[in-house]
């Protein structure tokens, strides 16, 4: 006799944000199948914008409940909806929404950042045919939604298998998306393969760690594991190795040294809106999951993993800073700088002090908006070939020389984001750095904070180098001035002052590919999505820098893990 099946109780309202995003992703797949191709793109874009926005509304609705009760565990303990989870959902939905806006923007030429047919072999006749018939690869949007859904579950996971499944759900679409760039397709496909292979390997190590921890604790539930770690037992080595493998998997996603080697290549090869998406949202998801693992699941293991985390943090800060100093490509430079930021965030994690949770969340907010904004601007700076057609993004640093004089608003906005990365006061980045270093010092890790400020001082150098290039370099001396290392001497001040204004394109022959730049005005004429996203990021950066109290209170009130 089969016993009556009792359906498990699912607290749909508690996980509404995730359901909305994943449901929209499923809807997107159906749209792909059934909606005629004329309307497909509009419907997909609309869906991809509405879903994160609705998720934001759902998060807001859940906020006060979680603040007062401290959170709930749903789905039988598989998903924990507590304060840090809500903040992560907020950040992922907001930053994901802005990344979708960047992806949806087709700029002046009517082309977005994605290849017309991703499956076409680069250089083949089919690729040309797809381009000329106006094919659009609209699966991008449901893929982004699925990745967002995975990113939302990853920090909320309440047991190891959910953690792993979420990791895969967030990673697989990203592997695909990294290969979808319209230009330099071989580079993009190489980035995708690299990410896939290294990511699969990291996931395998992660899974191995899960198996070992399960072997130790006898359960995959976080609550049970925490209880098991509290009792010293015979199988401690199993636990330690398992935890280390788990950390390897998570640290890979954050881009920490020595698991960072994929970051520069993938960030450079992927289409820029996807780079923005990865750089911001993946880090949020990975760091909040790391926080949960370190603070809530394995508090008993602090002494054991502290040395490893210290070494990783110091190495990450140093490698990220030093490598960024010698870059000549702006996307690679921003990739290495994001590695350095991962190191700074790790100092807040290692502090293992109550302040660390709120500090890391604030830093992720500041870093996330500045990253999306910065990559959005990189997306808009294009090359134009001699016959006037827009060729692609101008990512070589030498091509950014003199941008400040021609397009001051764009250059000033980029400067704002760079200053936020550098941690200059009155920007959100300073609030993030201050919070994180305070937490580190309060937790007794003042050497980390000291290395952090020294790395920040060194990092300021390469951020300032870009500012110098944009504002203080004439377009002619862009090539020498952008050389990594000494800024070159400019000709006499008067000559430079004259050259800066209204230099005709015809005079410039400095670089081998005759380049010129198109600008923000191009986007505004076409669609404006990217302008909205960048403007929002800039406003948040300045607002949080000047009046951080509301944000700090908001985050500080909920920054406690469900035990």
């Amino acid at each position: 006799m089969i016993a009556a099946f009792t359906a498990p109780h699912v607290a749909w309202s508690a996980i509404a944000p995730v359901v909305i995003v994943l449901g929209a992703g499923v809807l997107g797949v159906l749209v792909e199948a059934f909606v005629p191709s004329r309307f497909r793109r509009s419907v997909q874009v609309a869906l991809a914008i509405i879903a994160p926005a609705a998720a934001l509304v759902a998060v807001a609705a859940l906020w006060s409940g979680v603040k007062s009760t401290g959170g709930t565990s749903v789905l039988g303990g598989s998903v924990l909806v507590d304060g840090p989870t809500l903040v992560a959902w907020l950040l992922i939905a907001a930053l994901g929404l802005m990344s979708v806006l960047l992806a949806a923007d087709r700029t002046e030429g009517g082309e977005d950042a994605f290849a017309p047919s991703v499956a076409a072999v680069p250089g083949s006749a089919y690729e040309e045919q797809a381009r000329s018939t106006g094919q659009v690869q609209t699966e991008i949007y449901p893929l982004m939604l699925f990745a967002m859904g995975g990113m939302m579950v990853f920090p909320a996971a309440g047991d190891l298998l959910t953690l792993f499944v979420a990791l895969e759900v967030l990673s697989l679409p990203l592997y695909l998306l990294a290969g979808t760039a319209r230009r330099r397709r071989l580079l993009s496909q190489e980035a995708s393969i690299k990410y896939f292979l290294l990511g699969a390997f990291a996931s395998a190590v992660f899974l191995f760690g899960i198996a070992l921890i399960y072997g130790y604790a006898g359960s995959i539930r976080f609550a049970d594991i925490t209880a098991a770690t509290a009792i010293p037992g015979q199988l401690d080595s199993l636990l330690l190795v398992g935890l280390l493998f788990l950390l390897v998997g998570i640290l890979f996603k954050t881009g920490a040294v020595p698991f960072h080697l994929w970051t520069p290549d993938v960030y450079q090869g992927a289409p820029t809106p996807i780079t923005a998406f990865m750089a911001a949202c993946t880090k949020v998801a990975a760091f909040v999951a790391l926080l949960r693992v370190v603070y809530a699941v394995f508090p008993a293991m602090h002494w054991d993993i502290s040395p490893i985390l210290w070494i990783v943090a110091i190495a990450t800060m140093l490698v990220g800073t030093v490598a960024a100093l010698v870059q000549n490509d702006v996307k690679r430079l921003l990739a290495y700088s994001s590695i350095a930021h991962a190191g700074f965030i790790l100092t807040g994690v290692i502090a293992l002090h109550q302040r660390g949770i709120a500090a890391v969340l604030v830093y992720l907010l500041a870093y996330g908006v500045a990253t999306v904004g910065a990559f959005g601007i990189v997306y808009l700076v294009r090359e134009k070939s001699a016959d006037g057609s827009v060729v692609g993004e101008a990512t070589a640093l030498s091509q950014w020389a003199g941008l400040g004089k021609q397009h001051p608003v764009l250059a000033v906005t980029f400067t704002l984001f760079l200053l936020s990365f550098a941690g200059i006061p009155l920007t959100a980045g300073f609030i993030g750095k201050f919070a994180t270093f305070s937490a580190a010092v309060a937790g007794g890790a003042w050497p980390l904070a000291l290395i952090g400020v020294l790395a920040s001082a060194a990092a300021a150098f390469f951020y300032v180098r870009i500012i110098v290039l944009m504002f203080f370099t004439g377009e002619h001396d862009g090539a020498e001035a952008a050389e990594a290392g000494e800024p070159s001497e400019a000709p006499a001040a008067a000559a430079v002052a004259d050259e800066g204004y209204g230099v005709a394109v015809a005079e410039r022959t400095a670089t081998a590919t005759a380049v010129e730049r198109t600008t923000t005005t191009v986007v505004v004429r076409a669609e404006g999505f990217a302008v909205v996203a960048i403007a929002l990021c800039a406003i948040v950066t300045v607002a949080v820098g000047l009046f951080p109290t509301p944000v700090l209170n908001l985050i500080g009130d909920v920054a406690k893990f469900l035990p």
Partner: protein, 510 residues
């Protein structure tokens, strides 16, 4: 009167001026210079009112205070207030800024109408003034640090965007030096807050004064703060950013940079290092005094050997700042009040010197000393002004720098006689560098090509003349200014916990 937010007004007004200049409609752009000057003069008038609102009898207490909670989660407040020393420094900057705007009237290509370059430069000057007032008035340590770092941005653009041939190098060097010092100080700020009472107003300087710290922690905190201030001041051996910055920056920038900005370093030592870390200050005093004396002699010796006039004046500043630091760390009320007054006088004297060198360099196209010669026959008014300002730099009695230098030397002699004696040689060296500069550039036969150099215009006479007049007045009647700086010096002495040495020896009772 007492509840009017003078200091916030003084901070916001130049900020509004900068915003107005940045968003001028194209029709009004030709009046950018006049608008900038108007804002600077209104600021000067308001500063006068603020001085009137200040109670001179209680100059040692912090007045004109405003305290509001800003970031309660970090313990940060927006707190401003000044004692006598802060007030005179704000007044000095309020006097210098309109003169800098006037001096830059025809620079940056604005010979006939205002150029785009100048239109971009002037709002940065006003923005810098806002930050300067904020940093001298800050009574919350986080706010002080914030403005301390934020100040770097306009100066960086003022050097890097409007300067000489190697301006990018000089600007980046300035920025990284200052940033590094500031970041080291950040760690000290955080650690100090965590050792303090904490809470929503835990960063207020008044709350952080007088807490008992572990001696080792206190020493490390003192060092972290002192490094940042020594780089700012600048002191030997972290002074190397100043000559490049002063040489490459336009003269007005150098005036503000050296005349006002560097005072933040010594002001920080006086207002923060001494009251917050009294034991560590006493512990570090011998080393600091040695470094100060070395700065005095080293700066002077290097100034003598310079070929470029801007670099020469920059090195004289290194020397003068050695005197200021010597006076602060000699821990007598005479020497500390002398140092405070020295900060003001140095601003006027070196500021005037930079402006004059700027006028000469604009005429000749070069600031090298060997490009000039025999100018006193060609431009007698400029020569006369240069001589008077130069004599003020070497502390000729009758001009205000004499009063302050004398007070510093006499005050330091009471507790550090050896240092004072060696420092007095700095006066001799000052005479050397100034008078030799004057001799090479202004006396002797007229160098070829200089015969038709125009003399000082009315505008230039007003600019330098005002500064000379101020120095004469303060030189003959220093009383009011000294009344403002002496009580804070007494307060500082009490905070450091030394017994004050009498200013002069008692005469024998005959």
């Amino acid at each position: 009167m007492s509840s009017f937010p003078w200091l916030t007004t003084l901070i916001l007004l130049p900020l509004l001026g900068a915003l107005a200049l940045w968003s001028l409609p194209s029709g009004a752009r030709r009046f950018a210079r006049e608008i900038a000057l108007a804002f600077a003069l209104v600021e000067l008038v308001l500063t006068g009112f603020a001085v009137a609102a200040f109670d001179t009898a209680n100059a040692g207490t912090v007045q004109l205070t405003e305290t509001h909670s800003w970031i309660a989660a970090f313990g940060v407040s927006y707190a401003v207030g000044v004692n006598g020393v802060g007030l005179v420094l704000i007044a000095m900057s309020a006097v210098l800024v309109p003169l800098v705007v006037l001096a830059a009237w025809h620079e940056q290509g604005s010979a006939t109408a205002v150029s785009n370059q100048l239109r971009r430069y002037l709002p940065l000057v006003l923005l810098l003034q806002a930050f300067i007032v904020a940093v001298f008035a800050a009574r919350d340590l986080f706010f002080f640090y914030l403005v301390f770092e934020a100040m770097l941005i306009p100066v960086y653009f003022m050097i890097g965007g409007f300067g000489g041939a190697r301006r990018r190098y000089a600007a980046v060097k300035f920025l990284l030096y200052s940033l590094a010092g500031g970041l080291i100080m950040l760690i000290g700020v955080i650690v100090l807050y965590l050792h303090g009472p904490g809470g929503a107003d835990g960063f207020l300087i008044d709350r952080l004064t007088g807490i008992s710290l572990d001696p080792t922690v206190e020493k490390w905190l003192f060092i972290s703060f002192f490094i940042a201030f020594a780089i700012k001041a600048p002191m030997f051996p972290v002074h190397t950013w100043l000559p490049d910055a002063a040489e490459q920056a336009p003269a007005g920038t150098s005036t503000l940079l050296v005349g006002v900005l560097d005072k933040v370093g010594t002001f920080g030592m006086l207002t923060l290092c001494l009251p917050l870390f009294p034991n560590a200050s006493r512990w570090a005093a011998p080393v600091v005094i040695v470094l100060a004396v070395v700065s005095i002699l080293y700066g002077a010796l290097l100034a003598i050997g310079q070929q470029d006039m801007f670099r020469l004046v920059a090195y004289t500043s290194v020397s003068h700042f050695g005197f200021i630091v010597l006076g602060i760390f000699a821990f007598t009320s005479t020497s500390i009040s002398g140092s405070s007054f020295y900060m003001v006088n140095h601003g006027f004297s070196t500021g005037a010197l930079f402006l004059l060198v700027g006028f000469l360099a604009a005429r000749r196209g070069s600031a090298r000393i060997d490009a000039f010669g025999g100018l006193q026959r060609v431009v007698p008014v400029l020569a006369g002004l240069f001589l008077v300002v130069g004599l003020s730099s070497l502390a000729l009695p009758g001009l205000s720098p004499f009063v302050s230098e004398f007070l510093v030397l006499v005050g330091s002699f009471a507790t550090q006689p050896a240092a004072a004696i060696v420092a007095a040689f700095g006066v001799v060296l000052a005479a050397l560098y100034i008078l030799w500069l004057y001799q090479r550039a202004f006396t002797g036969p007229v160098t070829a090509g200089l015969e038709t150099l125009p003399d000082a215009s009315a505008r230039e006479r007003w600019v330098v003349g005002s500064l000379v007049a101020v120095m004469l007045v303060l030189g003959f009647v220093p009383g009011p200014a000294l009344n403002l700086v002496r009580p804070p010096a007494q307060v500082t002495i009490n905070q450091v916990g030394v017994t004050d040495a009498p200013a002069v020896a008692e005469g024998s009772a005959k």
